[in-house]
């Protein structure tokens, strides 16, 4: 498959500004006077969405998980559960990728997807164990829009999920109270960034895509969930979203 034909899956979930043309915007945002930068940075992770949006409702798809989940983001447990939800999504996706290995990816790609599946399963199981009784239940996912036999579809969605993960952890950092949890988020986000770099370079090996900007994005909770929503069959409600 030609790489140029492979971006559709990514474009379905990539927000405006992610594509190559967004680099400049991001650069400009960061390259002005420090006061402006700091102001921009301050406002970057905020959300303007309604206080308690409901995502994933009334969709068909995989039904082995909960029908509905509410995540209360008023404290660290909620933020860790939010991360747990994202790691569930990534682990489920890569499990599908490895089980339906597309052709034409070469030796490194097969190893990369095998490794990343392991990492995301480990992240998921780590959060489940660390949260214990406070953990949200298993979520249901809907990957019916993805052709897992098409290399471009898989790489595009994988890149979108990794970019989403990086921006989600970066955006959540300032709302984490417990320093140990902040460090854990830091330990995971750089691995997600390594994934994003690797997937991007396999997808578009142009010497630039592996790190499309000098400063990664930091997204707010509602924005993150809205991007993940097309793939989540469980109705996820966020309450007390900090901003």
């Amino acid at each position: 498959m030609k790489l140029d034909n492979a971006g559709d899956a990514a474009n379905r979930v990539l927000p405006p500004g992610f594509a190559a043309t967004g680099d400049r915007r991001q650069f400009l945002k960061w390259s002005g006077a420090a006061a402006v930068l700091l102001a921009a940075c301050d406002s970057a992770p905020t959300d303007s969405s309604p206080a308690t949006p409901v995502f994933g409702a009334a969709k068909g798809g995989v039904s082995d998980g909960a029908a509905a989940v509410t995540i209360n983001l008023s404290n660290d447990v909620g933020i860790l559960n939010f991360a747990y939800a994202l790691e569930q999504l990534e682990a489920a996706f890569y499990t599908m990728v490895v089980a339906n290995q597309f052709k034409g990816g070469g030796t490194e790609e097969a190893l990369v997807f095998s490794d990343i599946r392991k990492h995301e399963v480990i992240h998921r199981e780590f959060f489940k164990a660390a949260l214990g009784a406070a953990a949200i239940p298993k979520l249901s996912f809907d990957f019916s829009s993805i052709n897992f036999r098409a290399r471009g579809d898989v790489l595009g969605v994988a890149l979108a999920f990794e970019e989403l993960g990086v921006s989600a952890y970066n955006g959540a950092a300032q709302f984490i109270s417990n320093t140990d949890y902040l460090v854990i988020a830091g330990k995971i986000v750089s691995v997600e960034a390594r994934h994003a770099s690797t997937i991007a370079d396999l997808f578009r090996p142009n010497g630039k895509s592996f790190a499309p900007r000098a400063f990664d994005l930091a997204r707010g909770f509602n924005e993150v969930l809205a991007i993940a929503d097309p793939y989540i069959a469980t109705a996820v409600t966020l309450t007390n979203v900090p901003s």
């Binding site: 650069f27 960061w30 390259s31 006077a33 420090a34 006061a35 930068l37 700091l38 940075c41 301050d42 970057a44 992770p45 490194e108 190893l111 990369v112 490794d115 392991k118 990492h119 399963v121 480990i122 199981e125 780590f126 164990a129 660390a130 990086v166 952890y169 970066n170 950092a173 300032q174 320093t179 140990d180 949890y181 902040l182 460090v183 854990i184 830091g186 330990k187 995971i188 986000v189 750089s190 691995v191 997600e192 960034a193 390594r194 994934h195 994003a196 770099s197 690797t198 370079d201 142009n206 010497g207 630039k208 592996f210 790190a211 900007r213 000098a214 400063f215 990664d216 994005l217 930091a218």
Partner: protein, 255 residues
């Protein structure tokens, strides 16, 4: 001399020396910590030994010194012509990012009313041990060491800037970009983009850049229990303290 010998050896040697220096009254040997580093290096070592938390300004100047090092390394590397043709775009991308980080941190420090540290003088041969600007393999080796150290350095400072949401978010968004750089350079060298338990530069050896990366216990959870120990170590990057980072960087900083 190989990097693992140099970094590993210098780590243990300089740690010993500095412990002695600190024990003798907190003065660091001039040869060990050059002028550009001295102001915050003392604070850094003091923090590591007395549990004092470095200030936000000290953390920013620490980060700025690392960005000076990285930016200068890639500026010199790109100018030297040592980089093979198809990889030149990769390293100009990284160079441009490090320059942006450097200028950003200078701006933040000035906006806080603080004085940014000035750029140190670097010796990327580390006293003649390396020839990164005439040997491309060496160039990539040191690049990997600097990038993986950078990831670990920022990670180690996140708690020290937690009180300032703006600085924390900025540090986090630089931190993950360093992770992207590290993965790309590692893959150029035929390594995995992530750090396995085994020392990726010197299998079987432990040295400063990857010291502690084999940790398998996160918040009391054994993360090696799910998909094996190697994947467990790969799935979590570990922080370095300011003192550990300075021990790695010091051989390349001459004044």
């Amino acid at each position: 001399m190989s990097i693992m010998n140099l970094l590993g050896g210098i780590d243990s040697e300089s740690t010993t020396n500095r412990r002695g220096a600190i024990a003798r009254g907190g003065q660091l040997a001039a040869a060990a910590v050059p002028a550009g580093l001295a102001a915050f290096a003392r604070r850094g070592f003091a923090a590591s030994t007395s549990a004092a938390t470095p200030t936000i300004v000290e953390v920013l100047n620490f980060a700025l010194t690392l960005e000076y090092l990285e930016a200068r390394y890639y500026i010199m590397g790109v100018d030297s012509g040592v980089i093979s043709g198809r990889d030149s775009r990769i390293f100009t991308t990284i160079r441009d990012h490090e320059i942006e980080h450097r200028e950003f941190l200078i701006g933040v420090l000035q906006s806080l009313g603080a004085t940014p540290v000035s750029e140190p003088t670097f010796d990327f041969t580390a006293g003649g041990a390396f020839a990164p600007f005439s040997n491309y393999d060496t160039f990539k080796l040191l690049s990997q060491a600097f990038e993986d150290t950078g990831v670990r350095a920022y990670k180690g400072q996140l708690p020290n800037v937690q009180s300032n949401d703006t600085v924390l978010t900025a540090a986090a968004t630089i931190h993950s970009v360093e992770g992207r750089h590290a993965a790309e350079v590692r893959r150029l060298r035929g390594e995995k983009g992530w750090i396995p338990f085994e020392d990726p530069l010197a299998p079987g050896a432990v040295h400063a850049v990857y010291d502690g990366e084999g940790n398998l216990v996160q918040l009391g959870v054994n993360v090696g229990a799910f998909e094996g120990a190697q994947a467990g170590t790969e799935a979590f990057d570990e922080p370095l303290t300011m003192a550990q980072v300075l021990a790695i960087a010091s051989p390349f900083i001459v004044g």
